[in-house]
Symmetry: C2
Subunit: 388 residues, 2 copies
Amino acid sequence: MSVAVGMASPELLALTLALTFRFNESTMSSRLGNKIRGSVMSDGSMRRGMGWSTMADVAREAGVSLMTVSRVYKRPDSVAQRTREKVLETGRRLGFSPNSIAGNLASGRTSMIGIVVPSLRNSNNATSIQGMADYLRQASYHFMIANTGYSMEDEAAVVKAFMQRRPDGMVLTGTRHGHETIDLLKAAHMPVVETWETRGPFIDMATGFDNYEAARRITRHLVDRGYRTIGYIDYPAIGLDRYLERLRGLKDELGSAGLEPTSVVSPLDAGDLYQDASSFRGGALGLRKLQEASRDIDAVLCASDILAVGVLFECQRQGVRVPDQLAVAGFGDFEIAAEVPPGLTTIRTHGYQIGWNAAEMLVTRINQPRAEIPLRDVGYDLVVRGSS
Amino acid sequence: MSVAVGMASPELLALTLALTFRFNESTMSSRLGNKIRGSVMSDGSMRRGMGWSTMADVAREAGVSLMTVSRVYKRPDSVAQRTREKVLETGRRLGFSPNSIAGNLASGRTSMIGIVVPSLRNSNNATSIQGMADYLRQASYHFMIANTGYSMEDEAAVVKAFMQRRPDGMVLTGTRHGHETIDLLKAAHMPVVETWETRGPFIDMATGFDNYEAARRITRHLVDRGYRTIGYIDYPAIGLDRYLERLRGLKDELGSAGLEPTSVVSPLDAGDLYQDASSFRGGALGLRKLQEASRDIDAVLCASDILAVGVLFECQRQGVRVPDQLAVAGFGDFEIAAEVPPGLTTIRTHGYQIGWNAAEMLVTRINQPRAEIPLRDVGYDLVVRGSS
DNA sequence: TTGTACGCGTTATCAA
DNA sequence: TTGATAACGCGTACAA
């Protein structure tokens, strides 16, 4: 029996050889007591021994002990150079690849991070996931992701499921979580970073920015520009902390100018939100709702750039001139904000940095369990463009 | 010693109790021979025994055998109801959470899928990742993701790293991969699905659509509409199979109409591409390049909707009327295509379905290693809107 | 329906 | 610098 292949590279030959070797061994001597070896040959229900070479195989072939092989792959410096080379060469020849699962069990560390986001399609999340991915990769960590669809029950389920895989740390989006989630993580002493907000209380660590202050800042900009009849297009009211903070910031800032929001609308229903793709349309719908509520509205602030761009598109269709007849502002500074005519005034957030920070904080804490790791505020910037 | 907490839920109390119990046990009797138990109390370098309750703990407390506990959590039906309830209750009380890592090692299955994408910020990928996530979740699988930044070397490194975690299957983006990657996967008999293309050869399984035919289809539409001077804005030339196919489709279709592309430009440099966010700007740059190459260009086809929307924005800035002076077409049918005035003509792809399929095919193959799983073509649709 | 025995492939510890 | 040994926590096979 041999492995069927197309092009045969040295690496492939090595692995083929390794597999063949293992099968022969089990067929002939079975001295480890394994009656069956290799799922490839078995009846399908049997999955023990996947046909991979093990450290024991390499050790035997190279004439060293198992621990030496382990050291060669884990801390190469702790092994004499000649030994190391011999082992590596043997390993290559046998197509050996260390089994992390076994290592995890023995060491109690998985080098795995669990990441929980509301949606995988959200640009904000994508950016900070990329930040985490870039940091984690150079630190030799892997990560699992799951999305909650903005539901706390799902979040709890996801966290529970992740815990069974014993990740070394966990990243959550936002700071509002169910008791079950919080209790579970705290009791397990799981290193946790909460992201996108700087207002606690936190389970453990956090990085983000002050959504409340950012919303006040951009509202103040609109007020300073002379706009007085200001509407707000919110995310659907599902109680996401950071969006609640943005709305609160808007109201407080208008309040201190003796104003109040002319109208606050939430254009999407839950179904749309879960899709998370329908937000341009949400912005357009939102504008129409605002116009129904008040004909003389002169500025619209949106909970995200996507909504705001949807507003700009709707203005274009209606022939409403921006910013002369209507000012529009968003939140996020996605690429489109700079590109869409006439340019979208918005709050620049630093999603990539949030992701990077979260990963870095986690890894620091994992390596130094006692470390006190303070909140990291990445700040925000007001970016004024043609729409206001 | 006890766990510090804010609000104490029943679940938390259970877990606290479990941890305390374990610590006491080790401190007092240490009858398993563990000198140290629980990383929380140790000096930081010691990580064995994480302080979690184990099946053995539950078994002892519930007065059953370890296997009974295992069965309760793996195949509850195979245990008498009374026994099951007793075990579950004990498990809850001890805050027990099955350790998948140990289960993986024992069973040879990880219930983990490795997903390799070029970029985490790309909308296409995000959509199909969501499809995979939704399928995998209901099938009780988790997944790891890594991005390659469009580099084959990085892809090989990522695949190698994933293999050490012994995933049950792997999803790759596209069909063009390095020999090293291919050989490794084949030799390991790893179930693999390649996505977004239906033209082989494949490592194992594939789902996607025919990019070549789709490009011909939308090109034909432009030709039928009477456009004759057609430019193309490509992704950067890094040899991504599906983009090469799109360009080939354009050329062939124009060819059979006795035409040829007026100009083909690739507006982004590699740095921009890696960011993957700068594509609106890429479209705008591309249009300007096309205009430099030929003043009487009357239609532009783009390799993606994002580029096409960038073209629309640039038209708006230049005062070019769409579609009267210039027709614009994209590829992807992202939400923005329907929302941006005057509506973007494009090819609708089915990214979510591709992701869902990929996951489903993988799980099928994992459960039935012998299964022949044919290519799944999800097709595409021409969507004509105001821009052409 | 439940239990016993053993192995999964690695790492921590301690001794040489 | 290297080796022997004992876990890590669970699932498979088989027996009762």
